[in-house]
Amino acid sequence: MSRRIIGPFNRVEGDLEVQIEFSDAKVSKAWVVSPLYRGFEQMLHGKDPMDALVYVPRICGICSVAQSVAAARAIAHAQGVDMPANGELATNLVLATENLADHLTHFYLFFMPDFARETYANEDWFTDAQQRFKAVEGSAAREVLPARAEFMHLMGLLAGKWPHSLALQPGGTSRSLETQEKARISSILYSFRQFLEQVLFGDMLENVIALDSVAALDDWVTQAAPASSDFRHFLHIAQALELQSLGRGTDRFMSYGVYALEGKPLFAAGTWDGDAGELDQAVIREDISHSWMHHQAEAKHPYDGVTQPSADQADAYTWCKAPRLDGQVMEVGALARQVVNGHPLIRDLVAQSGGNVRNRVIARLLEIALVVVEMEQWTSRIRPREPFCTHAALPDEAQGYGMIEAARGSLGHWMRLKKGRILNYQIIAPTTWNFSPRDAGGTPGALEQALIGAPLRDGEQDPVSVQHIVRSFDPCMVCTVH
């Protein structure tokens, strides 16, 4: 059986290659290859720890703030410093703005254009999909880019700019807000809510959030025509193509928890495999048995992790390491976050059909509705003229980690300091979890498992099903290998 090599995948962040073997017109084996290595962990060695706040956002232009927040949390952990209430609220607003912009960009620019491909030309829904979602030319992109740009004015107000802000500090944010700026944030959120309700959902956000079962969702879909909103449009196509049976993953989900207020996250940390589990960062290990890294005897916890690239290693096929939680492959992302947190619709979807292309997209869109409502609340709780940032010295010898949720899932930074300098800095990004290679036991990563069974349509060389499955994870390859 010959291996087919597919790549590059565009409309993902960064460069990606997938190698697959077929049998009976279905994918029987898959290998995920991350072909770019830059070496941020090596760069950070020996630096002033505060300089991590300059370097790490530049790992990734799409998860830039998430990288900043993880680094700031790691430094704060080493300092033992807490944020004032305004600092938490402003940090949450900035991180939420990035996460929601990423969800929006993913849906409209990265994911939906695949349904406008010629391979679907004979489907009865094709003309509408093409008119709305075709890459560059479709009507949706022209509507979404201005709405997204206006929404990102929140970054101008709260973080100076995006991407690559230095406003996210261990003790809060460097940008305090005045009363009129708080008002402007509210009005930008109002405008964004209008876009979502009129264009994306065709319904009030509260009604979308209140969908509490698969039956309720099915009923909601039929209440209006597919063309009445882009969410319904997607659900209509998803039903026609049975996307709920495409790209089933490991069905073991993980979330680090995110959007803390008084230290307690809005979306809880934990695991889900049909039952809820506690998250224990001490049992995370990174395996490099199939990575282009100088091999070591055993998988290591990130505090002890080593990143020494080596282009020729037997059995290696990617620059990506293979993180495991207590030895297990985990899926991360909006679906994982919402199933762990217990949203009833997402729990029901996962109970009925597990992690799959359709459910991953539904969870992402639901999360847009959930978080905008929270952002409105956070904004109203900001108290101008009270502090946004506390200040603390950093000990010369310390260690700390920052574990948060980026748009694409669980992001962790582990940092050790010696003589006031970074001794070791290790990063495990969301797509490192989802797109990891095989581990020493030969167990494939989450995407490698999800691709098994992906069908070939008649006459296809590059199966569109593989494109859907890959993009359903919203991969960020520049984070994956940093």
């Binding site: 597919i6 790549g7 590059p8 565009n10 409309r11 962040e13 460069d15 290659e17 072909p35 770019l36 290595y37 830059r38 070496g39 760069m43 505060m50 300089d51 300059v54 370097y55 530049r58 990734c60 232009g61 799409i62 830039s64 960009t105 620019l109 695949d114 491909r117 075709k134 890459a135 560059v136 022209r142 880019l145 201005p146 740009a149 206006e150 990102m152 004015h153 970054m155 101008g156 107000l157 973080a159 100076g160 700019k161 995006w162 991407p163 690559h164 802000s165 230095l166 003790g171 809060g172 944010t173 460097s174 940008r175 305090s176 282009a311 003229r385 502090p387 940032c389 494109q467 520049v478």
Partner: protein
């Protein structure tokens, strides 16, 4: 070669050793939005990694057709540095689905491009990707930090006769890119429009200091001491706005902001080598209490004399507000205070 120019300009955009942040910044273009800007400039997108439909083998065919001369390449944009490692092999970035290092594709495409454009400081000079010990052996298209050369060599000119146009920044402001593309489309890009590092003078003839909202604090040397303070960021917080070539405070970022407006230092991200300042980014390096990096064009003795004079004259309002995170003392009213 079957190349004839119709009324459209063909644009190809590739990414290599970078973070994709310049594209994400560009997607935020406003007045007009990015796609309308392309339309107005008569730009046809041959391929862009975040926007185009085509994937995988379709891209390889397209690149080969361009290199063969079957498709005219008017505008070649590279985002991210050129990766030469490990050991000069280029294998730290191989183009997916091909056996070749991305470096070699970039080289071949640059040779057939009418204009070659480096998007961001990584593509221009190596940028943040060449930080630390430069583990990936990254360089820019025609520079390695401030040294001419890079991948294409000092003497390289694209077909229209210009060197690589370096739209430096980390990331770029969306309008630095859209306005440069429009300038090219209108026939208004020439050597006189480029500065010593081949950056468009449209934005590098300015300093970040221009229109800085903290200018009054700067004038009186009323300085911030910690993040979120309102005072000038130059004396203690590492701000290089008085040296940095860019118009960040003249035109806002994301409609409202800039680094300094966000409460943090300008790190001079349009400058070759900005990624290794030899000291912490957010602490001002000083000798005998005087910042090492003084404002561009200003004689040191004058700076010291003016600084000590203005410090002596600092109004209470600025002295107190500089160390606060909101305005404590409001401006007086000269008529009323008489």
């Amino acid at each position: 070669m079957a190349q004839h120019r119709d009324s459209k300009l063909n644009l190809l955009w590739l990414q290599s050793g970078g973070c994709g942040g310049c594209t994400l910044s560009l997607l935020g273009a406003e007045s007009p939005d990015l796609l309308t800007t392309f339309d107005s400039a008569g730009i046809r997108l041959l391929w862009h990694p975040s926007l185009s439909e085509q994937s995988a083998s379709g891209l390889h065919e397209l690149l080969q057709q361009i290199i063969n001369g079957d498709i005219r390449l008017d505008l070649f944009c590279l985002e991210g540095s050129v990766i030469q490692g490990p050991d000069g092999s280029g294998l730290f970035h191989r183009l997916s689905g091909s056996d070749r290092p991305m470096r070699d594709w970039i080289h071949d495409l640059s040779k057939v491009a009418h204009y070659s454009i480096a998007i961001g400081s990584c593509a221009a000079f190596g940028g943040i990707t060449s930080g630390g010990g430069n583990p990936s052996e990254a360089c820019g298209l025609q520079f390695e930090n401030s040294v001419p050369g890079g991948l294409l060599g000092e003497s390289f000119n694209a077909i229209e006769g210009l060197p690589v146009i370096n739209i430096a920044g980390c990331p770029v402001h969306p309008n630095w890119v859209t306005e440069s593309l429009l300038q090219i489309a209108h026939g208004d890009m020439n050597r006189q429009e480029l500065d010593e590092f081949n950056r468009p003078r449209s934005y590098t003839d300015h300093l970040v200091h221009h229109a800085c909202p903290r200018n009054e604090f700067y004038e009186f040397k009323a300085s911030a001491a910690k993040p979120s303070d309102l005072g000038c960021l130059m004396e203690n917080m590492g701000c290089l706005g008085t040296q940095a070539h860019a118009d960040c405070n003249i035109r806002p970022w994301n409609g409202e902001g800039s680094c300094i407006r966000g409460g943090y230092a300008c790190i001079n991200c349009t400058q070759p080598g900005f990624q290794e300042p030899d000291y912490s980014f957010t602490t001002t390096q000083k000798i005998a209490g005087i910042p090492v990096g003084l404002p561009t064009d200003m004689p040191k003795a004058w700076f010291i004399a003016l600084a000590s004079l203005s410090k002596a004259a600092t109004p209470k309002r600025l002295r107190e507000n500089a160390h606060a995170d909101h305005i404590l003392v409001t401006p007086g009213n000269r008529d009323k205070d008489k």
